[in-house]
Symmetry: D2
Subunit: 313 residues, 4 copies
């Protein structure tokens, strides 16, 4: 499946693995990226907010890109390049493409307010990175404070042929998907891929509203993959049954700031990461929080055996 | 159970029922408030953000208070009095107490930033409403943009003897409960009641962290009541089983702006409200959204018979 | 000069005078409003943010309206009716018009973000107050955090025939005036009056860009009146000479939060107000700040004799 | 005058000169930095928000540092290193110090809200850049949305021995200077240097309140230098006379977004910069705006001959 306007399936948002001393854990990184491919992901997104990108220096970021591109053996890799300045955005985007990335992801600067400011920002970003670089719009008001109407998204898409995907994580966001899909049908919006995120909290219905897949960091991406597959096959009840079984844990992960710690902890318990360390500054989980996640995993294992027989923390 | 620092259980956040023409639906209001009492609520909160309070004129607000006080037959009634100015806050608070309310709820103005500004605001509010009026701190950053540390909450509580309760709806918020409970134990914070909200999204663990109950608007308050009871009885698995069965719907309700429409729709299908109308301006549900909620109700009914045999929309 | 799309000149933004005990100082109020008329104002705006409106109860607000309408003897009175809810906005707007106000002023709610949200808000506000009530758009991002493009202002104006005036106080804002004036000339925007504010900090050039006058609270409204008159007469250097002489004090007044205290202090020293008291909660001036203003007044008196021979503080 | 807690006088905030094609204009850069020294500056600050720092890549930033350090011949150079991530902040800070900078300037991330978050952020920043690097706190709420109380500033200063200076640009900010100076006198705050900015809009009174000097980008830094000198010499009226003569232009420069274009234009007309170009994206001045500045310069030249005989635009 090539990256582009027809992209679908699941692009996990990858964390960056660290050793307890703060160095990047390259072994875990290779294992993580390879695992994404093995379980059936259709792509991988790295160096997003979840990837602790601002804590990496440029050389480290480049090596993460190279490591991921090598490990996923042909899957498209999308690289987060959001930055306060276009010089840094351009530098990372150009380097990413040279090292084999399939495209980049850009969130709006959190000071943007008016429709025109947002549209203008993407025009400038595209000019900075080059019109030949496929890019993803990240629409995540909870994080950025920037609210994009469907009309603004359409303007960005129609103005910039290199826009290939929307990472939809507005909340509430179901009607936005319906509106955009309606525009795709009536031809007033050209085709792009719509993958959804916001932790996956509404993936069940997002697929029914017309999303093409998922682009989030839940620590059981297999569930995302299964739900996307079941939804596309019209197996509605099965999709919801699986989704609902995961919802208590997924909801627990979807806590701003704390969520990354939870995800790394679950990935460690699943044996994918060697450590759940974050580079400083990072939010640590309390012993109580770990016990809560352990309890959720035990409960989940009753329905999904992939949550069973995990490593001891 | 009197209202005060020992309050516990469930205080539903009440919507205000309207007729399709925008007038208040007093019959539904009486039925709703009475129903809260019948199902085992320990109090009721009215005229919050969910209650469309800013759309009511003063006379209507007063009548809602009177109607509620009469209908709940002795249960404590808490009245939201948050306002941009202290004159309006004082007027509503004094009237509420005269009409039999047990206390008032105050959210911080959304322009407050520093710790001192927040603490100072509550000092001014208490001076405005009078030191004899018991009040609840509403801590809801998602709505107000105001972030209160545990230390700020402690300052407000210790400075103002009339503070009796925290409506905790920070997100993430579990560690905040743990911190406050630790301070209660070591004596550095005097006793107040902590009820949690944010739609109930973390009620399962909030109870385990030491919350005294729930203070939110989920359309099956019986579930909140049962989960609070089960948690207090130490019946952990049962509490989670029930909570998890409701979580898909509860999560669907917890959408900013859209949530109220969903709640009114469910309460209408349950026969408590005659209509799901909001006074203008209000967000309407699409036919697709109604069908999604219907589907969630059918699924819920497999586990909780209170969701079965509902009225046709 | 009737209030409407042809309004011009100076509409001072009036403070509300208080006695030291917090009661409204009605004698000063009558004197203040009458003085505005005597010095050549073409209208008066009351109950804005500067007027401490949120600290007044409804009965007090009504009496301020009545007092002003009587005292200005026929000058148009504009009443600020911005409110978090449309019920309160409607109630005050209808009452204001019944008591003889010429129109109302509405600022956008500070949670609005997208162009459509802003345009929609004004549509709802107009529906609430009634299409027969002339209204002023207050465009003050520094206070409201809401950024309106010229295009959004045009949409509001064209959608709502009852919109008669823009209170322009965006900053920077000169190019916005030029854009709107260009649209008026080419017919893509219907005629409205544009009065400027933001403390008057750019009045000199705003008039040259095409503003119709001033709508701010500087404590020497005579200067605003003179500058507007000189600018319209093409006496550019004289306008700037007078403006520049006042700029050090005007700049000192234009401090968020503190500015009102400075204005009341200057108006007290000028003999217009009996006291410089604010109703609680209010920002008081330090002794140092008063001495700084005194010094600025002494300096100003060298150029403008209206600043000479003031009362002792 | 070494950089440190005893710093005083004027540290101009330097723009970065560009050629019309967007390349850095190194000739103008050398001339600008050398000119700062010649006119009597006591230091120079580069790569701040005004310096278009986010538009420079790392190599360019390093060369700007080297160029400035060489051109100012011994004056202390402060380098803005504010960044969304500590990796980039550390990289630039370490490089800056290696290339001869005297210290760095750090603004808080614009998502910080509570007192503890702000204090914690500076602790993390200091850990990132190293405790051996002298740093300046930039307190500019208008730009960052972060409000620091005097108490928060004191906590940062007392927690971090490497903090040597406050760039004070809160608005209103006069009482903040008085509070901090009071704490310096009573020993509850250790000595730091306080330089003020916010375009210089209150420099006249800031000096009287106890500021040590100015740290802003006004295009006539000689005026800042003179006012600081006159104020320290107790020549109050002379200081105000000179300040007031410049205030109309200074006020015109102090427009968010537009200000940089105005400053570059004036510096070009003064012969310091060869071009007034900004690297894209940048706000251009309209022909009307240029004419307005030309007019202000003509008026200023009547009082200050340094504004006379400028180059034709």
């Amino acid at each position: 499946m090539p990256f582009g306007i027809d992209a679908e399936g699941v692009y996990p948002i990858a964390p960056t693995p660290f050793l307890p001393d703060g160095a990047i854990d390259w072994d875990s990184a290779k294992r993580l990226f390879g695992w994404y491919r093995e379980i059936g992901s259709t792509g991988v997104t790295i160096l997003g907010a979840l990837g602790e990108a601002p804590k990496l220096d440029h050389a480290e970021s480049v090596k993460v890109i190279e490591t991921c591109v090598a490990a996923v053996e042909g899957l498209p890799v999308v690289v987060g390049v959001s930055a306060p300045g276009f010089a840094a955005m351009r530098a990372l985007a150009r380097t990413a493409m040279e090292r084999g990335a399939a495209g980049v992801m850009i969130a709006p600067l959190n000071t943007l307010r008016t429709d025109d400011q947002i549209v203008g920002y993407y025009a400038q970003a595209v000019e900075a990175i080059g019109r030949d670089v496929p890019f993803v719009i990240q629409d995540y008001p909870l994080l950025t404070s920037v609210v994009m109407t469907p009309g603004v998204i359409r303007r960005i898409v129609m103005d910039n042929p290199s826009c290939v995907m929307l990472k939809h994580e507005d909340w509430p966001g179901l009607e936005k998907i319906t509106t955009l899909r309606g525009w795709l049908r009536d031809g007033s919006l050209r085709k792009i891929s719509i993958l959804t995120a916001n932790g996956g909290l509404f993936l069940d219905f997002e697929m029914e509203r017309g999303a093409d897949g998922s682009n989030t960091g839940y620590a059981f991406p297999e569930m995302l993959i299964d739900v996307v597959r079941l939804a596309k096959a019209g197996r509605r009840d099965e999709a919801h049954d699986l989704f609902d079984a995961h919802l208590p844990l997924l909801r627990y992960e979807q806590q701003m700031g704390v969520g990354l710690a939870v995800r790394k902890y679950v990935l460690m318990r699943r044996g994918v990461l060697a450590h759940d360390a974050q580079r400083k500054p990072g939010a640590a989980m309390s012993a109580t929080a770990r016990a809560e996640v352990d309890y959720l995993l035990v409960r989940l294992a009753r329905f999904d055996k992939r949550a069973a027989a995990l490593k001891t923390a």
